[in-house]
C-alpha cells in the first residue's frame, strides 16, 4: 500500500460499469477535461489525476475504463481489472477503490461492486445520478445500502458537483477497512451475488408499485422504432450537415475579410518582391486556406458533443446493430466508427471495447474510411465548386451527406470481406447495449471540448501548416530564372518540375501536375492540400494584381489546362473528392493502428491498401464519367 505513510499520496481508483459517470466524477475531483459522454465505452484507457481531501491528504486518482465484471474479456475491461489489482504499468496498487454506480440501474451495477468488495480492498460506493433515479420513482436509502454492503455509500450528482465534499470526507485517512461482509461472500459465485443484489435492492431501493413511462421511454418509442427510428436518424444526420454549411457562412466571411485586410496591410508595407510573395502568397494564403474552415470544424464538434452528451449515440448504436451484423461486426463497433468521424485515432483506440480480436482488427482496418475532421477543409473547398453560387446550402449538405455515406458504406463492405477472410470467432459473442436515460447536454464539458479542438486546429494551422506553407512556397519559387513570367517561373521551380513528373501518373484521374503535387504534399497532413493549392494557384495566366488577390476558391475555379480547357471540371472535382474519401494520409493514425493491432504489418498493409484503393476509385470515377460527360 503506497499511501500509508503520512507524506505520501494515497492511490484511489475509480471503477464502475460503463456510463456510470466515472470520468465526469474524475473531472469534477481533479479539474481535468477527460472526454465524457452519455453512452457506454467513452473511456477505454486509464487516466491519472490528483486532488487534496479537506484533511490535506493528497490523493492520486486513477480513472479506469468501464467494465461490467472483473472477468471481462475485452481489452478495456482487462485494463480496468489490472488497474484494480495494481498491475498497470506505472501505477501503484490502490489503497482504496471508489465504485461508481448509476442509482437508476442499481441492480446491474451492484454486481461489479460485490466483485470489488470481494477483493478485500477498502471501498467507497458513489451512488451517482440519484436525481434521475428518484425522478423515475425509485426510493433510495443510502444509509441502508451502506449497512447492507458494509462500506460507506455517498449519494451524488457528479455532473453538478453535488456530493463532492461528502465524497472527499469519506476518503478520510486512514481509509475504512475492507468490507466486513467479505469473509462471508468471498467464495460467492454469480448466482449468489444475484440473490444478494435482489435482497439489497429490496431493502434499500424500493421501486414504485406501477411501472411509469419516463420521458426517455416515450422518446425511445419513436427513436428506436424500426421505421421511424431510421427516419429520425437520417433527419438528425442531415440536419447536422445542413447546419454546418448554413451557420458557418457568416463567420467564414469574417475570416476571409480578415485575410484580405492582413494581405492588403502587408502589401502596403512591403515593396513588390520575393519577401512580399512569401508573406502574402505563402504564409497568409497557406494558413488562411485552412483557417477559413474553423467555423465548420467548431460546428461539427459541437453537434457530435450534443449527440454524445444527450444519450442519442447509444440509440444510434442500437439502430445500427442490424446493419453492422450484416457486415460481420456488432453494434459495439459502431461507436468506435462514429468516433472516427471526429478523428480516426480515438476511434481506433475505442475499438478496445470490442472483445472479439477478429472483429476488432476489422474495425481498426476500416475506421480511417469514416471521414475525419482533417478532411473537412478539403471537402469544404471542393463541394461549393460543384454548385452554382445561387444554389442553396441544402444541396451542399446533400453532397456532404453522400461523402460520409460513401466512406461508411465502403468501410462496412470491406469489413465484411475482412471478416470472411479472418474467419469466425471461437465461442459465442453477444452484444449488450446500455440505453441510458436522455439527459440535458453537459454544456460546460461540450464547450471545453470544442474549445480544445478549435485551439488544436488553430495551433496546427499556425505551426505545422505555416511551416509547410513556407516550404511549399520556397519549392514553388526556386530555382528562379530572371526574366521569366510568373507561370513559367512556377513551371521551372522544383515543385513545377515535380508536377511535370507526377502528371502522367495523375492525369488518368483528371488532375494536372499542380493538383497531383498538392495531393502528394497532403500526405504530410490532409489540410496541406488547401495550402498547396493556395501557393500553386497564386497566379493564373493573364490575371491582374487585383484578381490574383482574390479568394482561393475563385482562383482554382478559374484555373485552366495549357490548352485553355477548364481544369476543375465537375468530374475532376468528384474524382478529387473520391480520392480524399479513401486515401489514408495520416501518419499518426498509422502509428496508433500499429500499436493497437500489435503489428506494423497491419499499419503498412492498411496504408498501401487504402492508397491503392483511392487511386483506383478515382481512376474509375474519372474514366467512366468521361464516357458520359
Amino acid at each position: 500500500m503506497s499511501g500509508n505513510g503520512m507524506g505520501e499520496a494515497a492511490t484511489v481508483v475509480l471503477i464502475g460499469n460503463p456510463n456510470a459517470g466515472k470520468s465526469t466524477l474524475f473531472n469534477a475531483l481533479t479539474g481535468a477535461n477527460r472526454k465524457v459522454g452519455n453512452y457506454a465505452g467513452v473511456s477505454v484507457d486509464a487516466a491519472e489525476g490528483g486532488f487534496y481531501t479537506p484533511h490535506g491528504k493528497k490523493i492520486r486518482l486513477l480513472d479506469l475504463p468501464g467494465c461490467y465484471s472483473l472477468r471481462g474479456g475485452s481489452p478495456d475491461e482487462q485494463i480496468a481489472a489490472e488497474g484494480l489489482m495494481g498491475n498497470l504499468r506505472g501505477t501503484n496498487a490502490p489503497d482504496l477503490a471508489v465504485c461508481v454506480v448509476d442509482a437508476s440501474a442499481l441492480e446491474r451495477h451492484l454486481r461489479l461492486v460485490l466483485e470489488v468488495i470481494d477483493l478485500g480492498l477498502p471501498v467507497v460506493v458513489v451512488l451517482n445520478k440519484v436525481d434521475l433515479a428518484e425522478n423515475g420513482g425509485l426510493r433510495l436509502d443510502a444509509q441502508l445500502l451502506s449497512e447492507e454492503l458494509g462500506v460507506p455509500v455517498v449519494p451524488m450528482r457528479a455532473d453538478r458537483g453535488k456530493g463532492l465534499l461528502e465524497l472527499k470526507q469519506a476518503l478520510r485517512f486512514p481509509f475504512p477497512a475492507g468490507s466486513r461482509v467479505k469473509a462471508a461472500e468471498s467464495t460467492a459465485g454469480v448466482a449468489d451475488h444475484q440473490a444478494r443484489i435482489l435482497q439489497i435492492c429490496e431493502t434499500a431501493a424500493r421501486r414504485p408499485d406501477e411501472d411509469q413511462l419516463t420521458l426517455s421511454d416515450k422518446l425511445d418509442r419513436v427513436l428506436l422504432h424500426p421505421v421511424l427510428g431510421w427516419v429520425a436518424f437520417a433527419a438528425v444526420m442531415f440536419l447536422v450537415m445542413w447546419a454546418i454549411f448554413s451557420f458557418a457562412g457568416i463567420p467564414m466571411g469574417w475570416i476571409e475579410a480578415l485575410q484580405g485586410l492582413v494581405s492588403g496591410w502587408v502589401e502596403g508595407m512591403l515593396p513588390n518582391g520575393e519577401l512580399r510573395s512569401l508573406v502574402v502568397d505563402g504564409m497568409i494564403g497557406g494558413v488562411f486556406g485552412v483557417l477559413v474552415f474553423l467555423p465548420q470544424i467548431i460546428l461539427l464538434f459541437l453537434f457530435i458533443g450534443l449527440l454524445e452528451s444527450s444519450g442519442y449515440m447509444a440509440r444510434a448504436a442500437y439502430l445500427m446493430d442490424g446493419i453492422m451484423s450484416r457486415a460481420g461486426l456488432s453494434g459495439k463497433a459502431f461507436l468506435p466508427l462514429f468516433s472516427s468521424y471526429a478523428c480516426a485515432i480515438p476511434g481506433v483506440m475505442a475499438t478496445r471495447t470490442i472483445d472479439s480480436a477478429k472483429e476488432r482488427l476489422a474495425t481498426i482496418f476500416v475506421a480511417p474510411w469514416m471521414s475525419c475532421s482533417a478532411r473537412l477543409p478539403v471537402y469544404f473547398l471542393i463541394v461549393p465548386l460543384l454548385l452554382h453560387e445561387s444554389e442553396g446550402t441544402w444541396k451542399q449538405a446533400v453532397i456532404l451527406f453522400c461523402i460520409y455515406a460513401t466512406g461508411t458504406i465502403t468501410a462496412l463492405l470491406v469489413a465484411l470481406l475482412l471478416r470472411m477472410k479472418l474467419g469466425k470467432d471461437e465461442g459465442q459473442r453477444s452484444f449488450m447495449l446500455e440505453l441510458p436515460p436522455y439527459q440535458a447536454p453537459q454544456w460546460r464539458y461540450i464547450f471545453r471540448h470544442v474549445a480544445e479542438r478549435a485551439m488544436s486546429f488553430i495551433t496546427k494551422a499556425g505551426t505545422v501548416i505555416l511551416g509547410l506553407s513556407i516550404l511549399l512556397w520556397a519549392l514553388s519559387t526556386y530555382p528562379r530564372q530572371a526574366g521569366r513570367n510568373e507561370s513559367d517561373a512556377l513551371a521551372h521551380s522544383a515543385m513545377g518540375r515535380m508536377g511535370s513528373w507526377i502528371e502522367p501518373v495523375v492525369k488518368p484521374l483528371g488532375f494536372d501536375g499542380r493538383i497531383g503535387t498538392a495531393v502528394l504534399t497532403s500526405f504530410a497532413a490532409r489540410e496541406v492540400f488547401n495550402s498547396s493549392l493556395a501557393v500553386l494557384f497564386r497566379v493564373e495566366e493573364g490575371e491582374s494584381d487585383e484578381e490574383s488577390r482574390s479568394l482561393l476558391r475563385d482562383r482554382i475555379a478559374a484555373a485552366t489546362w495549357p490548352d485553355g480547357r477548364k481544369l476543375f471540371t465537375p468530374l475532376t472535382l468528384i474524382s478529387l473528392l473520391v480520392f480524399y474519401i479513401y486515401a489514408l494520409q495520416c501518419l499518426p493514425t498509422s502509428a496508433v493502428v500499429a500499436r493497437e493491432a500489435g503489428s506494423l504489418k497491419w499499419a503498412v498493409g492498411q496504408f498501401l491498401f487504402m492508397s491503392g484503393f483511392a487511386y483506383l476509385a478515382s481512376f474509375l470515377v474519372y474514366q467512366i464519367g468521361s464516357l458520359f460527360l
Binding site: 481535468a32 477527460r34 484507457d45 486509464a46 487516466a47 491519472e48 489525476g49 515593396p271 518582391g273 520575393e274 519577401l275 512580399r276 512569401l278 478523428c343 485515432i345 480515438p346 488544436s456 511551416g467 513556407i470 516550404l471 520556397a474 501518419l587 499518426p588 493514425t589 498509422s590 502509428a591 496508433v592 500499429a594 500499436r595
Partner: protein
Amino acid sequence: MNLQDIAVWTIVGLTIAIFAWRMFRSRSTRKPGCGGGCDCGKKR
C-alpha cells in the same frame, strides 16, 4: 543578394531547421506507444 532575399532565406532556413529539430526531438522524447496523434501529449 538584396535585403529581401536575405529575409526570405532566413525564414525558409529557420523553418527547415525547426522541422528537423522537431523530428529529432519527437523521436527521442516520444512516449512508448504514442503515435503523436490528436490526443497525444494531453494529460490523461
